[in-house]
């Protein structure tokens, strides 16, 4: 039996039963409750998923106060069997093993080892059943947010017969948001019924809704409905919805573009300093990003219990590590090559090979897993068709912060002044008493450090492995050149506009062709305006 069918069946069984639980004297159901709960627990011992499914059904329907706990533990993989006598137990990890409690008698069984326990496995079908079971129990949850979610997750299973039950839930409901969800649910069940007046009324309620279930229902009605009035109205409602969806799709593309752009900006901005300000073509820039990402990994390994904190600490740490590597590279190699930009390209290419192989030797060629903290997973749901993923939003904000800080640093601080002076006219700056060699080293270190920070951000989006740097180096160069060498604003706007252009093209042309088109665009653009979006003014540009 497919999972979908199973869910529908489950809802048919469950919904009326919930009513029973709610409105009939609880005492009458008490014994039945306990019996089906115990039977359910017993069935969990089976090795067949079908029987476990039945067990979940029984436990959900039992209305037993313990059922919520059991279902959640089963979903989280915390329900085990004792190898000795097959007792179903709940476990919590504790010192030296697992703290084990029996499910039925709630008896404390002490601390046991993995060997003595056998996990009750679940599969996807079961997982779905568990989630909808939990949702159903949650209809009675004290928190209105949980109740609203519970109603929403049930929308797909609503039938024409659900009306009465939903109406009753609605009369009881105090919270506005939950009432609105319930109204949508009621409207859907009206649509599935036979009453034309009700259907028209339902269409009024649903006309602005963006929920996918509503759209699918309306689509069905436009093709299957007999009444012309209803059909016409449904078509109208569908048009309104689709216009809205289209609008939100555009917003979504914009967000995707900005997000991709902010990644490009982050990757390129360090290069904008080393390449743009001191004229070094640093092919090892990608590897400096990689070092930043590995720093994040190492810090997480040092403090596995504080993922969020380790990430926050990784930002300064990566800046220091990559910056230090940058200064070493500058002092040992690059300072001998100033004024010969194309040769810095060759030497730094060699350095990039060495850095890659170093990482491979220390950390193995395998990718490393960097854990994303809880608050950076998931997405901010603005409405059912538009949600912004949290990690992307964070990275976007982060990129803007890095940019602003850097911009202020270069414009307002004395180091910034010196850097700009040296980059515009080295000889003149030196004669003004600026220690050019020191400024060079610091600038290169700054650019490298920023690359390291970019690595922290990238570790949250993509692989942390020896090849991480290579995949960003070319894009970074394109962004810097497109934006105009030596101009931070150029890099910023260049990165963002390339990101948006890429995402606008992608749905129409596919991911690969979009990238090719962007490259061709850049080639043509550089030929039209060799100095990029924001050319550096004055003679220094030549």
């Amino acid at each position: 039996m497919g999972q979908h069918h199973y869910r529908a069946l489950l809802s048919l069984v469950t919904l009326p039963f919930l009513l029973l639980v709610c409105f009939f004297p609880a005492v009458a159901a008490q014994t039945a409750t306990q019996e089906s709960f115990e039977q359910g627990i017993h069935l969990l011992k089976s090795r067949k998923f079908q029987e476990k499914n039945r067990a979940v059904e029984l436990i959900t329907d039992s209305g037993d106060p313990r059922s919520m706990d059991v279902l959640q533990d089963l979903l989280a993989g915390k329900l085990f069997l004792l190898r000795t006598d097959q007792t179903v137990v709940q476990v919590k990890s504790a010192k030296g093993g697992y703290a084990v409690t029996g499910v039925l008698q709630q008896q404390d069984l002490g601390t046991l080892q993995t060997r003595q326990l056998k996990k009750i496995t679940i599969n996807n079908a079961l997982r779905g059943a568990l989630k909808s079971g939990i949702a159903k129990i949650n209809l009675q949850h004290p928190d209105p947010g949980v109740r609203a979610n519970a109603v929403e997750s049930m929308l797909e299973e609503i039938t024409a017969d659900s009306v009465q039950m939903l109406e009753e839930l609605k009369t009881k409901e105090q919270n506005k948001a939950v009432r609105r969800e319930l109204e949508t649910a009621i409207a859907i069940s009206w649509l599935k019924g036979n009453d034309e007046a009700q259907k028209l009324k339902a269409l009024d309620t649903l006309s602005g809704s963006l929920t996918p279930v509503v759209r699918n229902e309306l689509k069905k009605i436009t093709t299957q409905e007999n009444s012309e009035a209803v059909q016409k109205k449904a078509l109208q409602a569908l048009h309104t919805i689709e216009a809205k969806v289209k609008w939100y799709a555009k917003l979504e593309t914009l967000f995707f573009g900005l997000s991709l752009g902010s990644v490009l900006v982050l990757a390129a901005i360090g290069l904008a300093i080393t390449f743009g300000v001191i004229g070094v073509i640093n092919m090892a820039h990608g590897e400096l990003i990689m070092i930043g990402a590995y720093t994040t990994y190492v810090l997480q390994q040092c403090m596995p219990d504080h993922i969020g904190l380790s990430l926050a600490l990784a930002i300064p740490a990566a800046f220091c590590v990559s910056g230090l590597v940058g200064v070493i590279i500058e002092r040992s190699v690059i300072r001998f090559l100033y004024g010969r930009p194309l040769e810095t390209l060759l030497a730094t290419f060699g350095i990039s090979l060495i850095l890659q192989q170093t990482v491979r030797s220390i950390f193995s060629p395998l990718n490393r897993s960097v854990i994303t903290p809880e608050w950076m997973t998931g997405s901010l749901a603005i409405n059912p068709v538009l949600s912004l993923t949290t990690n992307r939003v964070t990275v976007f904000i982060f990129a803007m912060l890095v940019f602003t800080t850097l911009y202020i640093l270069l414009k307002k601080s004395s180091l910034g002044l010196q850097v700009r002076a040296v980059s515009q006219n080295r000889a003149m700056a030196r004669s003004m008493g600026i220690h050019a060699a020191k400024v060079d080293a610091l600038t290169f270190g700054l650019g490298s450090g920023i690359a390291g920070i970019a690595g922290v951000a990238l570790s949250q989006l993509t692989n942390v492995g020896p090849n991480l740097g290579q995949s960003y180096i070319i894009d970074s160069f394109m962004v810097v050149v497109f934006g105009g060498v030596g101009n931070l604003w150029g890099t910023m706007l260049g990165g963002l506009s390339l990101g948006i252009a890429n995402k606008v093209l992608e749905p129409w042309s596919g991911a690969v062709l979009a990238k090719i088109l962007i490259l061709v665009l850049i080639i043509l653009f550089i030929q039209k305006r060799p100095q990029g979006l924001f050319p550096q003014k004055g003679r220094a540009a030549e």
């Binding site: 069918h5 996807n124 990718n367 492995g465 020896p466």
Partner: protein, 429 residues
């Protein structure tokens, strides 16, 4: 100017000199070539296989070697560079005179070395799941053909999970292209309409999955149970799964079944958001069998790291190597021709508790397992084929290949025999 004259002869002399001195052959060992990339993009997957081979050879030597001689591994690094694969293969066979070679991962590397192995008549054991559509006298395919991985996985999704709408997402190269072609034909033969199939290709190492995952989400919200069949390769998987998790696609609403994601790939991913997504392989590290426990133990003590995982291509090398040893002992020689004849029909234990046999089409028999990803980066087996599945060199679902069969036994001795025209098409003389 005088010294300048030396520059060229010196360089060239150096070059020629060292090239000419091919190493003296030690007659008391049998050399085994290991042709896996240790640097470049493929190092991430292939380095483990090199270590596996070194372990297997070491263990065999402890047992006394083969035919009374010790085995000697010759490791080279083709550096994820395809022409270099051909060059190194030639070096292994011609210069090092290896008896057999174990190696390659990507299809293109196999295609690159294939003519070399055929020309010099040496043996290659190829351990990775691949697209099929090939059967060479000189190659033994110990990984899965599409009918040993993709088709059973789709069957499982269709019958056990009730999936009606399909996203076939893959990296743009020959394995996903062929697999998706086969699956598309297969799904259509099962009555799935065209509008319920979405096919998407992305470049290697694709890292920005926002738009594609959003499309999958939209495709999956049409009210029918939807699943993603992923042939996404290597590095692109991490950002893909991350994006899936963040956009709220979980295993119970849109499950993803992957053919290129194993324990090793998962060890580089934070698996929490992936729990319940699926993979189809012929072996999982979590398989409960004595042979597997022994293998894992040996692996951990060889690599000196208790945290290292095992995976399907490692099992393929395990099977392939044991088959080769058995065939050499059966033939009494390492001569490629004799081994080719001896190895067909050889049966060795696999790691899932059964036996695998080398078939006349140079593919092997394997069980197909479907596993669900767990939080600890391992798979729980949720389904397996009742018996062993025979690897099919030529797919029954592709226009060009449905009439072809492969049988390397005399008298047919042909890798691509057309049963309609009764001819051995192609290159065999």
């Amino acid at each position: 100017m005088k010294n300048q004259l030396f520059a060229l002869p010196l360089a060239c002399g150096l070059l020629a000199g060292s090239l000419l001195t091919s190493g003296a052959q030690a007659a008391d060992t049998i050399k085994v070539g290991v042709l896996h990339s240790l640097s470049g993009t493929m190092a991430i997957s292939e380095t483990t296989l090199k270590d596996t081979m070194l372990m297997l050879i070491e263990e065999q030597n402890k047992k006394g070697g083969v035919l009374g001689k010790k085995l000697e591994a010759v490791v080279v690094d083709p550096a994820s560079n395809w022409p270099l694969f051909a060059e190194k293969a030639r070096e292994l066979i011609e210069k090092e005179k290896v008896a057999a070679t174990f190696g390659c991962w990507t299809s293109v590397s196999r295609k690159s070395v294939l003519p070399v192995f055929e020309e010099l008549n040496s043996l290659l054991f190829y351990p990775v799941q691949y697209e099929g559509e090939e059967s060479s006298l000189n190659v033994f395919y110990t990984g899965a053909a599409p009918n040993q991985q993709a088709v059973p996985a789709v069957d499982y999704l269709m019958n056990d999970l009730g999936v009606e709408r399909w996203v076939l997402a893959g990296t743009d190269y020959v394995y996903p292209r062929t697999t998706n072609k086969i699956l598309e034909a297969y799904l259509k033969s099962k009555g799935v309409p065209q509008e319920d199939i979405m096919i998407n290709y992305t470049p290697f190492g694709h890292s920005d999955w926002q738009s594609i995952v959003a499309d999958i989400k939209k495709f999956g919200s049409a009210g029918k149970k939807t699943a993603v069949v992923s042939t996404i390769n290597g590095d692109a998987n991490v950002p893909f799964y991350k994006e899936l998790g963040n956009q709220g696609i979980t295993a119970d609403n849109i499950p993803v079944v992957a053919f290129s994601v194993g324990e090793e790939e998962l060890s580089g991913i934070d698996t929490k958001p992936l729990v319940g997504h699926l993979a189809a392989w012929n072996y999982f590290m979590s398989v409960d069998s004595d042979a597997n426990m022994d293998f894992i133990e040996a692996w951990h003590s060889f690599i000196k790291n208790e945290k290292r995982v095992t995976n399907d291509p490692m099992e393929a090398h395990f099977i392939g190597f044991n088959m080769w040893v058995k065939a050499v002992e059966k033939a009494g020689t390492t001569d490629p021709k004799a081994v080719q004849e001896a190895i067909i029909g050889v049966t060795v234990p696999n790691l899932s508790g059964g036996y695998s046999a080398m078939m006349p089409n140079h593919h092997i028999t394997k069980p197909v397992l479907i596993g669900e990803i767990q939080e600890n980066g391992q798979f729980d087996v949720v389904w397996e084929t009742p018996g062993l599945v025979v690897g099919d060199a030529w797919s029954d679902y592709l226009e060009g290949s449905k009439d072809l069969i492969s049988d390397w036994r005399a008298p047919l001795s042909c890798g691509n025999y057309n049963v309609v025209t009764k001819t051995c098409a192609g290159n065999k003389e």
